[in-house]
Every structure is written in structure tokens, then in C-alpha cells.
């Protein structure tokens, strides 16, 4: 599965550099074609989506972004910046899961199941 997740996450990053913020969901939908089950489809797209956002957020935080993260987390009523990253992870995972779900059943329709 890891062989599928990493390329997918990289593709999501590239798409996000060009498309609007939700561009990664298009790839998450299409990830279903890499899987045979609903569970796999959702897991792959959730993990790839998480991988496309969270490590980057952590990197930015430790590369001088801590002041900004602190201010933004205070603005959003969060006591710690890591909760901001956690919240972002939950959001991207939720979207990834939904996209994986849609992708799987779109594939089912296409295959006439």
C-alpha cells in the first residue's frame, strides 16, 4: 500500500501547487482505481491526503513558522499550535475519506457492478 500512497501524495502536492486548495480531492477520487475494496480506497486516499498536508505543515512550523502558528492557533481559540496541525489533519483526512468513498463507487458504476 505504501507504494501507492507515496506517489499519490506527491501527485497531490503537485496538483495543489497549481489547483485550488481542494485540487487534491480529485486525485483522492481517482485513487479508487488503485484499490479493490472500499476500505483500501478510503485508507489510501486518507493517508495520501494526510501525507500531502501534515508533514509540510510540521516542516513549516519548525522552519520559522512557529510565530505564525502560535498567532493563528490563538486566533482560532486553540491553546497549542499542534492542535492547529491536528485540526488540519482531521479536515484533510475527512475530505480524503469522502473522496475515496466517492471514487470507489464511481469505479463500481463504471465497471457496471
Amino acid at each position: 500500500m505504501i507504494r501507492k500512497i507515496i506517489p499519490l501524495a506527491i501527485a497531490m502536492v503537485l496538483v495543489n501547487l497549481v489547483f485550488p486548495w481542494w485540487g487534491f480531492t480529485l486525485l483522492a477520487v481517482s485513487s479508487a482505481w488503485l484499490c479493490n475494496s472500499l476500505k483500501d480506497s478510503m485508507l489510501i486516499s486518507v493517508r495520501a491526503s494526510l501525507l500531502s498536508w501534515v508533514p509540510l505543515l510540521i516542516y513549516i512550523y519548525f522552519s520559522g513558522g512557529h510565530i505564525l502558528f502560535n498567532r493563528v492557533s490563538t486566533m482560532m481559540g486553540l491553546p497549542y499550535p499542534f492542535l492547529l496541525i491536528l485540526g488540519s489533519g482531521i479536515l484533510v483526512a475527512l475530505l480524503g475519506a469522502l473522496a475515496g468513498f466517492c471514487g470507489f463507487y464511481l469505479k463500481e458504476i463504471k465497471h457496471g457492478n
Binding site: T25, R71, T74
Partner: protein, 811 residues
Amino acid sequence: MHPIIKAGVGLVTLISLILVLNKPIGNIPPLGKFLSPFTGYAALLNSDELPTGELNFDALTEPVEVVWDTLRIPHIFANNEHDLFFVQGYVMAFDRLWQMEFQAHAAGGRLSEIVGEKAIGYDQFQRRIGMVYGAKNTLAVLEKDTELYPNLLAFTAGINAYINSLSPTQYPLEYKILDYSPEAWTPLKTCILLKSMAWMLTGRSTDLAYTRIANDFGMDTLEELFPIFPKEYDPIIPRNTPFNFEPIELKSPRNLYQSTTDASQYLPQPPEAIGSNNWAISGNRSKSGNPILSNDPHLGLNLPSIWYMMHLNCPNLNVMGVTIAGSPGIILGFNDNISWGATNGYDDVMDWYDITFKDSTQSEYRYKNKWHSTRKVIEEIKIKGQPTIYDTVTYTHHGPVVWDHLNQTPALGKSQVRHGVRQTAEGRALRWLAHDASNELRSLYFVNKAENYFQFVDALETYTCPGQNFVYADVNGNIAIWHSGNQPAKWDGQGMLIMDGNDPVYDWQATIPHEQKPHILNPKRGFVSSANQHVTDEDYPYFLSSFFWMSYRGAQINRQLDKLKSANVDDMKQLQFDITNGKARNVLPVLLNILFPEKLSDDANQWLSTMKAWDYQNSKLSKEASFFNTWRKQLEYETWADEFGHGDDQYLWPYFNQLDEMIRFQPASKWFDNTTTAKKETLVDICYTAFNQTVTEINKLDSTQMEWQNFQGTDILHIAKIPGMGRVDLQTSGGVDIINATRLREGPSWRLVIEMDDNLQPFGIYPGGQSGYPGSVHYDDYVNDWVNEKFYELPFGNTANDIEGSHLLYK
């Protein structure tokens, strides 16, 4: 369930979620866009990083070098003014784009476009006071100014070059939080910002409050409690200075018009601590023999800071200091030859006129007992996410009719009420000097270039509004103060109350000629100073205002300067941090003498001993300052609340200097009597009551909370009040009517001390940082040093090589 249905349900949910996350909800930013590391806040990492190497612009005619010093002050070296102002605009936008745009939107009554319907009332008010009307009048003058307008256009082009260089992911943080985009800058926006500054500094209109008191208590009471000249004041132009000129003859009314007041509208007032200090000492009072100038304007404290430090250099111009984001040139600062600073003048340049319309269409109004046509302006107020609304504002020759029916601006709400000032439902027009076609930028431009006193004075001639006390010092040893502004020449008391819009005798009849404005050059006493107090004594032939700040700060400055015989820059810095509480020094000896220990509880006796030992210093750790502040407010309440009300329906209470004089000289004043009791109270009764209440209040606090730094403290909030973007709970000293006038939300917004040696020695600081990006260390890196009462030595020179820092070439 069939896969088509499952896929359909999934897709609808996914798309709906994306749509929801793509838009802000209430105060929550569009979460999807905002949290994404590719498009949101995190994409701004290092966006404050200074560019290196070279940047290319078609608009530049010659290369421009910018040096960013260690304080992140840009020093711009150009070969001509066009290039200089282009790069000034570009650099300013680089650091402060969102701030300047937001402030221009807010001042121009366009906040609803950004934050939605909650700002409609605010926008409507900004439109109705004629903020943009005044800005357009000024722009019309600027467009004809062949020397200045090209510079303003270059400055505008520089800002737009920066805006155009940004992709949406690079938009400053606040755009992402509030979900909107920058639009092109225009010269009009610069004019609007300057008018907004004028509102902040001249908007403390007391006409409505005084009229209400005159109507309900009589003119005698008004004159007794709000005297134009109190018993004790220390004017800017020293007493008995002769005014050797023939004043303009003015017609005044035989019987003063009496307006009605009190219905249901409110006049928002700028904060009470808008004031400032400035002074200059001559060479015979300084150790080195050079004049030294000092200035600290007190304004609302925000992040990003109102001021931005810059150094501008091109042939015939080498100037450094601060300007407001969005305005070209330097507003307060110094050049090779002169330095200048300002305090607010507090001239009454905002008057209100009752208007009688012929009928409800407001097409005609009565003036000189004849009907005259009005002008109607339809204001289009766009609202984020909602249909646009329109508001018709009627203009007379006096100015716009701010309110013409009940609940005109309901969104202003009660939080904006000050002193129960209310408007009537009848038409009432606003005459405001800032509406006039004026050219303050021209004044500042020539002040920036001035080489001597005469050029400085000439430059001030076109300065109109807001009126300022400009302090001046130069390398030739001169010091001066000019009370500048295009003030109307008024008969005694004109505009103190609401006036008759029909009778031309109430119109502004003339302007005070420039040479007749109060000023002083090289006075014998060896110093000049101002702190928003009365400008002159009663001998000055024109009425300037019915409101000036009490002389506590001014008198203390003069007292301290008078002691200095061989001062240096450090002495001047130290004086800016003087925390002597003048109010306490005046009244405490009397009040503490009234209190007999045997009549007080043990707790109260402890405080009595503490207060008797106090040195009147509002230091950070002082508990006495907290006690006195509470006691003072309680005394005011006990004295005035019975007659003048309190809370939402409160009349304007007399200023503290009135109570101060009553305590010291009129202990039997009728105002000490509490009219709600049968007993006749005196100062003694009020003193005991207020003291005991203060003891109860203060003793509820723990020892740390009692300390002045925590009791008052200072919060520097974000301009748009976005949580987390400000600095709060700063432990400061000082207070209102104290030289170091640091308060909860206001304080010294810029500090400058400069010795006018041939080799200039400038020192400055402001409570903020150069960058407007909240993720930058330079967003608030001056704040701690400002709190800790430090100054920075400001690098200055004639060439780029004189400045140490990061060099960047614009071509």
C-alpha cells in the same frame, strides 16, 4: 443501496463540504483555503524575508538602492524624486499592504465589503460625515499641483507594482482570514487616509455635549464648569507674549442661538488619550550647545503600528522619520538641517448647524431667510454576501447633513456613546475643516526639504487640517513652535454650541492669516514645548477652541525643562518617561489632610499612611497609583453623578482640573452636595465616602493586581481586533495626563529625541515593528524595548554606504 446512489450521496457531501470550507462563516476564516499549507496562512512562511540582489521595474528611470538596516528600516537612495517615491510606495506595500488598504477601506466607509452587514452602521456614518467628500476635494487640489502630484502618482504606481506582483497565495495573512483580495491603490486612498487622521485628531467635538448642558443647566453652569480659560493653565505660547497684529474684524450675533438637543443619535468620539508631547531646548540649555528636540505623539496603539520608519534620499532631499502606511514622504522626523515634531492642536474645526428644510424632500434649506437648493449624494454601500444598499446624503453649503432621521446609524450602538451626547431628528449639518480643499501633502513635502526656519514656516502655510503644534529645531541653533492649520477666525465662543444654519453670522467668516497663527521663535527661557494644552493666554484675539487638554503634562514639562541648564540627549529621553502624577500632587495634600485616622478603619488607616508616603510617581510597581486612580474616579462620581448622571444617560462631566480647583480653592462648592440626600454634603463628606469606597474596592485585589503595571497595563491590539495578532498585558508605567502618557489602549506611538549637531544624533522607537506580517519577528520586535523605555539610535547618512545593512538594487 445501488452504487449510483452511494456515489451520488458521497459526491454531494464532498462538494458541499468543499463549498462550506471555501467560505468564511461568521468570524471563522474559510477553513479549507486557510488551513491548506499551499494556499492558507502557512504558505506565507518567510513572506517578510527581504529580497536580495536586484529587482527590475519598467517604471524606474534610474537604479535605486535600498538598504535595510538591522532595525529593518528601509533607506532609499534614488537619483530623482519619481524613482524615490515609486520605491517608497513599493517598499511600504511590501511591509504594510493589508494595513494601508484596510484603513483606507474603513475610513472611506467600505468596511461592509470586507466584514459584511455588521459594519453597515459604521460605513454609513463614515459616508455621512463626508470623509470621502473631503478626500475628493483635497485630491482635486493635488491633481493641479504640478510639483507634487507626479510624486503621488509614482508612489501609487509603486504600491500597485507590489500588489500586481502577488499571487493569491502570497496575499498578506489578513486577506486570507477575511477572505478578500487587494485592489488597486489610488491617490484618493492616500487622501482618505489623511482625512481619517484628521478625524482622529479633530473629531473630539464638544458642541453637542455643551449644548445639552447649556439647555438643561443654563449657560452660567456651562461657563462655570467648562471655562474656556480655567484658573490654572500653562499655555504653549508663554503668557504675556505680545500679539502684534491687527486681527480680522468678525461679526458676532447679538443673542446666541439656542438649539434643542437630545433625541436618539450618538456622536462617536475618538479616545480621550489622543494627545502628545513635544519640546525643544536651545543650545544655551544643552551641554553641547546644540538644540535638542523631543516628540512623542500619543495615539491609539495597534499592530501593525500606525507608523512606519523610513529614510528617503535623492538630490535635494535627505529625510528620515515616520509616516503612516499609505502616505508618501515623511510626516514626523528630521533632515540634514532641521527636525520637527507635532502635538495635536485641538482647534475647534468641527461645528454643527441646525438646518431647516422647506419640506421632507430636503431639496431646499433656509439660509439668510431664503430657500437654497441642497445637493444630494447617493452613497452606494456594498455588503459582502448581501445586496448593495443606498443612502442619500443631503449637502448644504455648511457640509453634509449627518443625521436626518431617527436611528440613522443604529449599528453605532451604545458602545459608541460618550457623555450621553445625542442628536436630534432634525437635519443637522457638519462643517468640518477637513472637508475643505487642502494640500497637507505639499506642506509635508516642503517641510521634508526645508533647510532653515523660514522655509519651514513657508511650508506650513498650506497645512490645513488637523491643526498641529509643530516643534522645530535646526543645526543653526534655532528652536520654535508653530500652531499650524488653516483655522477659521472665530468670534468668542463660536462653535462652542450648536449653531444656527440660517444666520450667516454663524458661518466661518475668515481664516486666520498664517503670520497671525500663534508661534514663537527662540524664546528667552531657552525652550519651547507643547502638550495639547491651551495654545495662548486670553490676549490672543481669536477664539480657537473650547476644549484643550488640562495643563498637567505641559506644566510638568516646563517645570522640568526649566531646571535643566546643561542637558543632553539622555535627559530628554528621561523626561519622556517622567511619570509624575500632577493631579495627585495637586489634590492629595489637601485630601489627605481632611482624613482623621480616628475616623477610619484599620484597613483605611493603612492606606492613609501609604498614600501620605507616596512620591506621586505612577511607576510600574506603585500600588498608590492604583489607589489614587480609583479614589479620583470615586471623587468625580460622588461630585458629579447626582447632577450630571452616569452610565448611558450621562452628561459630559467637568474635566478633572475643575474638580482639582474646587478641592483646593472652593471646598464649600455647591457641587459637592449630593442632591439626592437631605443632608448638605461638603468636600469633607465626599472625601471620606470616596476614600472608604476605594479602600473596599482596592482591597479586593491581591498584591500583584494592585501594582499599577497590572492594574492599568497596556494592550496593543490588532487593527481589526483579530485575536492573537496583538500584544496584551504589557506592564507599563505612566498614565493619562502624565508626560509618559501610556494607558490601556493608547500611548506614545512614536518617540523621537534628536540633537541638532552637524553630525545628527537621532534616537527613536515606536510600539510595534516594521513588518505588517504577524508571523514575522519584525511584527512586534520593538514592543519589549518600548515597554522597557529604550530608544534606538537611528542610522542616517547621505549615501547608501553610510548605512549598514542589506543592500538591494531596484532597476
